[in-house]
């Protein structure tokens, strides 16, 4: 057990999986000698050499496309896209191929690859370095879309993603990289992909969040408990897609009131599916409309304005109180 921040926890997951399995290779821009621009692959190049930790040319479509080829051959590529804002360059490879090879070949081939990308705001970053693009992946059948919320689950989920026989898009919240250390066991630990967790039990209201927003949800829940005597249940999705509807619906049935928090723009965003899925199965239990606290439908505002756009505790509180009063 060691106290690690998320960067170190992810690095540990990669290190241990590479030690365990020679087929695991890393590929991306600056992942090698430099150890990745956020240092998630630190020291791996020294340990495993340039053939396994590959500094690629600057071309995202080829990183993912070559990853597909490696995965088809039987390797387990862990690709890094330097920032999720640059993954649209390879979006055709995701949609056309990564997600489809298993189906196209009726199981003769599959693509056991992981694509890691830093995502999200709150770090005073420039355009294309702060956005939250999970929705685009969640809508593609055949992809799994995972977003951890802390050092320990980041490590466990990354191990699970590497061992998963299907492609996993793995978003890492930049704002969480160095945010808080957690106890991370020395032995390899995994967590099931596709399962949400109740991050805080409660009875009066459900707050659905993931990634950085789990922290915001927790602060809001504490304030609700202290100030309003209201106990909010927090669902930490961990996997965005396939969505763990069972856990969501169970909580909504219990509390009857739901607030969803995400950093992505609201319209046609992940919150819509979460809300619609809950309505599908818990309609008669809902006491109030499901509220979404999200970024506005503006693509980029610059970090000088960022605080006005990112969901924060006051907005979650306002939505929760409105929902509770409804």
């Amino acid at each position: 057990m060691a106290k690690l921040n998320t960067v170190k926890a992810l690095n540990l997951a990669l290190l241990q999986e590479m030690e365990r399995d020679e087929d695991v290779v890393i590929i991306g821009e600056d992942v090698g000698v430099d150890g990745g621009v956020f240092r998630v692959t630190d020291d791996l190049h020294r340990k495993f050499g340039g053939k396994r930790v590959i500094d690629s040319p600057l071309a995202e479509a080829a990183i993912i496309g070559a990853g597909v080829g490696m995965a088809l051959y039987g390797l387990k590529p862990v690709c890094e896209i330097q920032f999720s804002g640059f993954a649209f360059q390879c979006f055709h490879q995701f949609e056309n191929h990564v997600a489809r090879f298993r189906l196209r070949t009726l199981g003769r081939f599959h693509v056991p690859m992981v694509v890691r990308m830093p995502y999200g705001g709150g770090v005073r970053a420039l355009e294309h370095h702060t956005e939250s693009e999970e929705q685009f992946y969640a809508h593609i059948p055949g992809l799994k879309m995972v977003i951890p919320s802390g050092a320990r689950n980041a490590r466990a989920l990354l191990v699970a993603a590497i061992r998963d026989p299907d492609p996993v898009i793995f978003f890492e919240a930049k704002a969480l990289y160095h945010a808080a250390k957690e106890d991370v066991p020395d032995e390899i630990e995994t967590m099931p992909i596709g399962r949400a967790q109740v991050a805080r039990a409660g009875t009066d209201l459900t707050i659905v969040a993931y990634g950085t927003m789990v922290r915001v949800a927790k602060e809001a829940a504490d304030a609700l408990s202290t100030d309003d005597g209201v106990e909010a249940e927090i669902i930490d999705l961990l996997t965005i897609s396939p969505l763990d509807r069972e856990t969501l619906v169970a909580s909504a049935k219990k509390t009857g009131r739901v607030v969803i928090v995400h950093e992505a723009p609201r319209s046609f965003g992940p919150g819509a599916e979460i809300a619609a899925s809950i309505m599908d199965e818990a309609f008669l239990y809902l006491e109030a409309p499901i509220r979404r606290v999200t970024a506005n439908d503006v693509s980029f505002v610059g970090f000088a304005r960022e605080r006005s756009m990112l969901p924060a505790v006051p907005q979650v509180l306002a939505a929760a109180r409105e929902t509770l009063k409804f």
Binding site: V25, K51, R52, S56, P57, A59, A61, A62, I64, G65, A66, G67, V68, G69, M70, A71, L72, Y73, G74, L75, P77, H92, Q93, N96, H97, R102, L103, R104, T105, L106, G107, R108, F109, H110, P141, G142, K144, D164, P165, D166, G194, P242, L243, R245, E246
Partner: protein, 382 residues
């Protein structure tokens, strides 16, 4: 001008051995054993015949839109023949002849064009990727396969196919650049058939050859007469040997011509002259290879009937294949079916049971527009 010209200068070579008039450059003639020549010749005949048959099947509505290969048999077979079974073949969507050579059953190809995904499943030990429709997107896969083979230390070469139009795509460029840097055992085979649907090469790129594009990536590029199966064979042999020896990738430009339509949905008279087509018909790869085989005493008059029978037999088998089960697809989205897919599957299963239990079929949909091109079914046109 008193500037420094950097060394080495670059040049692009052109290789032709058996020309359109059947003239053979004996000094360059590759040493292909008679049995291999016969196999090659038979495969060319089969490719040509299946092509004609498939166009007819499409016209009869028994398969959907299909991309004919007529005229490109030498480019495909002269190259693919150099692969061994452990090597990998990465096709685009116009490699019927090469796929047959690699062991794809004819009926599977028919299934593909009849809209069954069963048609894109390679056999259990077949090192081929399936047909790839988005132009050039298969090329980075080939690089990854070749890298993985090299990483594992396997004695494997990868061969990737694409057209002249594909060279305009970013994926072509990125794949070539990666292949150059990684020095992988990969042969890029461009079938430059002069057209990308209606776009002629001169609107596709301002470079004089496709072969010279290899210079941008620091590996050799060679232009060959793609209608000369001997030249294609010789050039590919050199490239495959180079790859196997660890000397990296090669780009081979096969100068050829698509004698038929882009797909069965296409009307080439809109964009090219019959004179142009006639000019290329004179250069038909099959004609000159037939003459060569005859001269070598390797020609077998019964072959045509044999390949026709083979195709007919396969078409018969294809037509016996029942409509596919709509439910199978759910098993292949993920290794394990997640709950939401299981629910969707169950709903569909129930609906199919209802249908079978007697509810009338919905009215037949209007005849469809063809897939890879626009709709040309005049009944619905205006």
């Amino acid at each position: 001008m008193p500037r420094t010209a950097l060394e080495p200068r670059f040049q692009v070579e052109y290789l032709s051995i058996l020309d359109a008039d059947g003239k053979l450059d004996a000094a360059l003639e590759p040493d292909i054993p008679p049995d291999e020549l016969k196999r090659l010749y038979r495969a060319m005949l089969l490719g040509r015949h299946l092509d004609e048959r498939m166009v007819r099947l499409q016209r009869q509505g028994r398969v959907g839109t299909f991309a004919p290969i007529k005229g490109q048999e030498a480019a495909q077979l002269g190259s693919v023949a150099l692969l061994r079974s452990q090597d990998w073949m990465v096709p685009s969507f116009r490699e019927t002849a090469a796929m047959l050579w690699r062991g794809w059953p004819i009926e599977k190809l028919l299934l593909f064009f009849a809209g069954h995904i069963e048609g894109s499943q390679p056999g259990p030990n077949q090192n081929d990727l399936p047909i790839c429709i988005p132009v050039a997107t298969q090329l980075p896969h080939a690089v990854g396969l070749a890298y993985a083979a090299q990483y594992r230390g396997d004695d494997v070469v990868v061969m990737a196919y694409f057209g002249d139009g594909a060279t305009s795509e970013g994926d072509f460029h990125e794949a070539c650049n990666f292949a150059g840097v990684w020095h992988v055992p990969l042969v890029f085979v461009c079938q430059n058939n002069q057209w990308a649907i209606s776009v002629p090469l001169k609107k596709q790129t301002h470079s004089r050859t496709i072969a010279q594009k290899a210079l941008a990536y620091g590996f050799p590029g060679l232009q060959v007469d793609g209608n000369d199966v001997l030249a294609v064979y010789a050039a590919t042999k050199e490239a495959v040997d180079r790859a196997r020896a660890g000397d990296g990738p090669t780009l081979i430009e096969c100068v050829t011509y698509r004698l038929a339509m882009h797909t069965t949905a296409d009307d080439p008279t809109k964009y090219r002259t019959t004179e142009e087509v006639a000019e290329w018909e004179r250069k038909d790869p099959l004609t000159r290879f037939t003459a060569y085989m005859k001269k070598k005493g390797l020609h077998d008059d019964g072959l045509q009937a044999e390949v026709e029978a083979e195709v007919s037999e396969a078409v018969r088998r294809f037509e016996e294949i029942p409509a596919p089960d709509p439910l199978t697809v759910f098993d292949h989205v993920f290794a394990e079916m997640p709950p939401h897919l299981a629910a969707q599957r169950d709903l569909l299963a129930a609906r199919l049971r209802d249908d079978a239990a007697g509810s009338p079929d919905p009215p037949e949909e209007r005849p469809a527009s063809p897939p890879m091109r626009g709709q040309r079914n005049s009944r619905w046109q205006s």
